[in-house]
Every structure is written in C-alpha cells, then in structure tokens.
Amino acid sequence: MVGRKRFSFVECFLMIGFIIFSILVLYPFWQTLVLSFSDPNQASSLGPNLWPEKWIPDAYQFVFGYGDIMKAYANTIARTLSGTFLIIVFTMLAAYPLSKKDLPYRNTITIFFLIAMFFSGGIIPDYLLVKNLGLLDTRWALILPTAVNVFYIIIMRNYFMTIDKGIEESAFMDGANYFTILIKIILPLSKPVIATIALWAAVFHWNEWFHALVYIQDDSKTVLQMIVRDMLTAMDLSQSANAAAIGGGGGSSENLMLSNVRAATVMISIGPIVLVYPFVQKYFIKGIMIGSLKG
C-alpha cells in the first residue's frame, strides 16, 4: 500500500454510493424493528412507520412466552455449530482429492457427487431411511443427512485448484503425506473459502426447518425456525395464541397484532446469525494470505 493516495475522488464517489445503498438495505430491517415495538394500532396501519409512537415490548414478551423458545434457541445453536463443523470436515475431505487433476477416475467420482446434487428421492424415502437407521427423533437426523454438500465441495475444490502447487511439491519432498499437507498447508491457505463455506453452512443450519419438522417429534429437541415458521404461516394470532397456551405461557395477546408478532419473531430469529458475520469478516481482508504464503 506504499505510495497510495489515502483518499481520492473515485473513492469518495463510491463511498457515497455505498452509503445510499446501505440505507436502502437497512430500510426493511429498520421497519421490521419498529414494527416489532409498535402498538397494535400502528402495526396494523399501512404505510411506512419510521418511528414507533411508543416503544412497546409486548410482542417480544409474547414470542418469548411461546413454547420453549429458549430451549429451541439452544438447540439451534448446538445444531448450527455441530452441523457446520461436520460440513466443513466432509467438504474438505472430498474437495481436496477432487482438486487433484491427476487423480485416476477423478471425473467419474466428480460425476458421482454431482448426480446427487440433482436427483433426490423425495421426502418419503428419506424419512424411511432416517427411521430405519434409528435416527428418527434424534439430533443426528438434523446434521447427518446434510453433512455432504456437493455445492460446497465444488466451490472448495475450485479454490484448492488455484493454490500454488509448488508449496505442496516441496512439502512432498520433505516426506509429508497428503493428509498432513491438507492440514498443515492447504488449510491455512484456504481460510477465506473455509470461512465462506462455514458461514454458508451456518446460515443453512440456522434457517433450516423442514428436517426438524419431519424428523423431530419431541418438543424438547425442536429448533428456533420451527417457532418462526409457526408465527409466519399462522393465518391469525388466535392460532398461534392457542399454541402459546399449549407451551404453557405466553404474554397477553390481547394487545397484539399478527404483524407485531411476526416482526418480533424475525428480529429474534436473525439476531445471533447476523452477529456471526463480523467475526468471519476478518478472513476476507485483502492481504491476509501473505503471512501464510511465506510461512
């Protein structure tokens, strides 16, 4: 970065553009936040609400009283962590060999993986399989069937293919095997793509509800998105209010509108996953790889 001007006209122009863009992108987020704190009269009126007349936490009370939401939170976090870990491990294990152009039968194996991306038997055989494996109503059912993701494998493989072969070759000379090379050389060199895929996988596991819906029967193992889904698809509040009562709690729904509750649910459900990003972000900073290259 030596000798680069700290500031320029182009950059200034770009920054203004990004600021406008950020406002556009923040708008729905802000609107949802305001809605979640609005009183029902305001919530049920059309038109932009940029500031609530009064900040009312009722909707949050209602959602937090819905079923065992804290348990669902914990389950989702556990699922996201373990599921992401599994995906990363399997993705790396498959992507590294497939990145070797001289691997015999490489294309055949690639196609074996690709086919799985396009054909699936549908939910009934999936369910019977999970049932016969004895995974039904266990947490494994949420992370094992999705542990191998062909899309991620191809992305990572592609990234591996752009890594300079020279470093690998010299490690070979030093007597390292493929496994140590993967761990000691490829892994540190691939932090950005691993971070990206970890983020994708985490977002996937965070948002996934269908498997939870069909594989999990025990309420104590349910995930956050199941509750979100209940709220978003409920036609009116009375339906979810019933469900809240089933959960044995729930704030008074007297002063709430469905739109409040939905907004609050969305805010609650995206909170943690949105906060993950800044932590992953450091791997996207340009020049991060320079140290590892020399190391």
Binding site: G3, R4, V10, E11, L14, M15, G17, F18, S22, V25, P28, F29, L46, G47, L93, A94, P97, D102, L103, P104, I109, F113, A116, F118, F119, G121, G122, I124, P125, D126, L129, L133, L144, A147, V148, V150, F151, I153, N158, M161, T162, D164, G166, Y178, F179, L189, P192, V193, T196, S259, R262, A263, I270, V274, Y283, F284, I285, K286, G287, M289
Partner: protein, 319 residues
C-alpha cells in the same frame, strides 16, 4: 495470474509425460481415496439409497401402498404437463425470469465485490459489508409487505417521486411491463451482499505483490481491477455461473408468490407458483415429484451444455 499460468503448464506436462499405469498412480494417491471414502459413503447412504423415490414420478402414488406398491401410470404425469397450456406458459415465464436474473442479478454481487474492494477505509468497508448482508435474512413474507408499500400507487415513495415530476402514478405490481423489473431489482437488493461474500473471499487470496508490481508499471485503479482482481475471481465466477444454470427452472418461488396477483399471471406465473396454486403440491406427491424431476433434468442439460462450452474455452469447468 503468474501462479495460474504455472499450474496450467504443469498439468499439460503431466498429461504429455509417458503414462504410468493407472494402478500405480492410484497406489501413490491411495490416501486421497481414503479421504474420499467417508464423504462418498455418506453421500451414498443419504442421497443414493433414497433415490428410488423418483419412481413416484412414474406412478399413481398411494401412501397406503407405498412407493413400490403403487401402480405405474404410463408417464401420465409428464403427458399431463405438456397438455396443460398453463404449464407451458409457466415454463416460458420461468425461463424468461430466470434467464433475466442470471444475466442481470448474477453479475451484481461480482460488481459489488469489485467496487467494495476499492474502498480503502477499513471501518467503512466492514460496516458496509455487514449491512449489505442483512436483507438476506428477511423472509419474503415480511419483505413483500414492504415492497407493496414502497410501490403503492397511493402511498408509495416511488410513485410519490413520479407524481412530483408530474407523471401519472404507476401500479408497478399489477403491470405486465414493470412486474419483472421489480422482481429483478428486489432480488438484487436482497441477495447482493450475501452473494458477494464468496467473491470477497476469493479477492482476499490474491497475492498483494501482484498489485505492487502493477503499480510499479504505472497501472491505475481501474486497470488493476480489470487485470488483476477480476481474473483472480474468474474461476469462482465461472463455477458459480455453471451451478446457477443448474437451477435455471427455479425463478424465485417465495418472492413471486408473495408479490404477484392474477393481473400479472401472464408474465409472472412460474412453474412453482402454478403447481402450488393448483393445490397439487398439497395432495399429489407423484405429480409434484414429476415436476421436480423435469426441472432437474432441464437443469442438468443446462449444466452439461455450459460446462462443455466453457471447457472448450478455458480450464475452469466442473469436470
């Protein structure tokens, strides 16, 4: 770019070198096969074993009889698809919307990443990135209500601006002309930041010495972007592009379902919304499976085609 070229050279040399017997090569790389074993077995169990389920597409499925026990039906679900002119229209709309999205919305995150890369202020960069990724987490149910408001002919900001310039308010979401542009713009708006992440990751791995060398040669900002940054993310762009083509018959179900209305069916009714509206998804597993199979086969054809074309021009195909 330097490293790229080197790799390419190496592989060509290897290919030209006298071939070792395959088993010898396999023996040398046996550890790699061991690595592959675990993911491959998992894939076999969880993807291949249940695959017999596609048979449903060729049967009159009855849950009581099971997948094997249900009677065959002579491709009835497929003939039905093509006898239904509504389905044909939905297929056409799906292709149009999807291809427009590929042409316009697919490059957006790339441009976004390239431009973001030009910002030197680290704090600004980080904040912008973090914000841009937010809308990805909002569901279309929530977003659609806002979009309808923004484009409302009576209260919407867009029409407010139009009338301020003495134009007539436009009912965007009921207009056959404007509906698709709205779809594409809102799609970009929602996904651009999230989509840019992978490109930012690719850019992060570019060797900074390349920039320094280019600067020495007197290359400006724009030149560096075009000649260093863009080529470095090109392999990723190509692979994502091919994979995106595989989903060519997915034109954005949730988005359209929450935004459309009968006045724009003519341009906006896609396969997924049509099948959904027919209540078929609800009750007819067999028909829905047939539609899914059809969509995937078209997707595969697109992938094969794109891969073949790209292989001919460059090194970066899927296989």
């Amino acid at each position: 770019m330097v490293t790229e070229a080197m790799t390419v050279k190496e592989t060509t040399i290897e290919i030209k070198a006298p071939k070792k017997p395959i088993w010898q090569q396999m023996k040398k790389m046996k550890l790699l096969y061991v690595m592959l074993l675990l993911p491959a077995v998992m894939l076999f169990i969880f993807n291949y074993l249940p695959m017999y389920g596609v048979l449903i597409a060729f049967k009159n499925f009855s849950p009581g009889l099971g997948i094997w026990g249900s009677p065959w039906n002579n491709f009835e679900h497929f003939t039905r698809l093509f006898e239904d002119f509504m389905f044909i229209r939905a297929l056409k709309n799906t292709l149009i919307i999807s291809l427009l999205k590929i042409v316009i919305a697919f490059p957006a995150p790339i441009i976004f990443a390239l431009l973001l890369n030009e910002i030197r202020n680290q704090k600004f960069l980080k904040v912008t990135q973090s914000i841009s990724y937010l809308p990805h987490f909002m569901s279309w149910i929530i977003l659609s209500a806002m979009i309808i408001e923004v484009f409302s002919p009576q209260r919407g900001i867009v029409n407010f601006i139009i009338t301020a310039f003495h134009g007539n308010p436009i009912n965007f979401l009921s207009s056959k002309v404007f509906f698709i542009p709205v779809l594409i713009i809102t799609d970009i708006w929602k996904e651009i930041g999230y989509g840019a992440i992978i490109y930012l990751a690719s850019i992060a791995s570019v060797d900074p010495s390349q920039y320094e060398a280019a600067e020495m040669d007197g290359a400006g900002r724009f030149k560096k972007m075009i000649h260093i940054t863009l080529p470095s993310i090109m392999p990723m762009v190509i692979i994502l592009f091919i994979l995106r083509l595989g989903g060519v018959l997915n034109a954005g179900f949730d988005q359209i379902l929450n935004l459309y209305n009968p006045l724009v069916y003519e341009v906006a009714d896609i396969i997924d919304t049509y099948v959904y509206r027919s209540g078929l998804e609800q009750f007819q597993f067999d028909y829905a499976t047939a539609v899914g199979l059809f969509k995937n086969i078209i997707g595969i054809i697109f992938i094969l085609g794109a891969n073949a074309i790209i292989r001919r021009k460059s090194e970066h195909g899927i296989w």
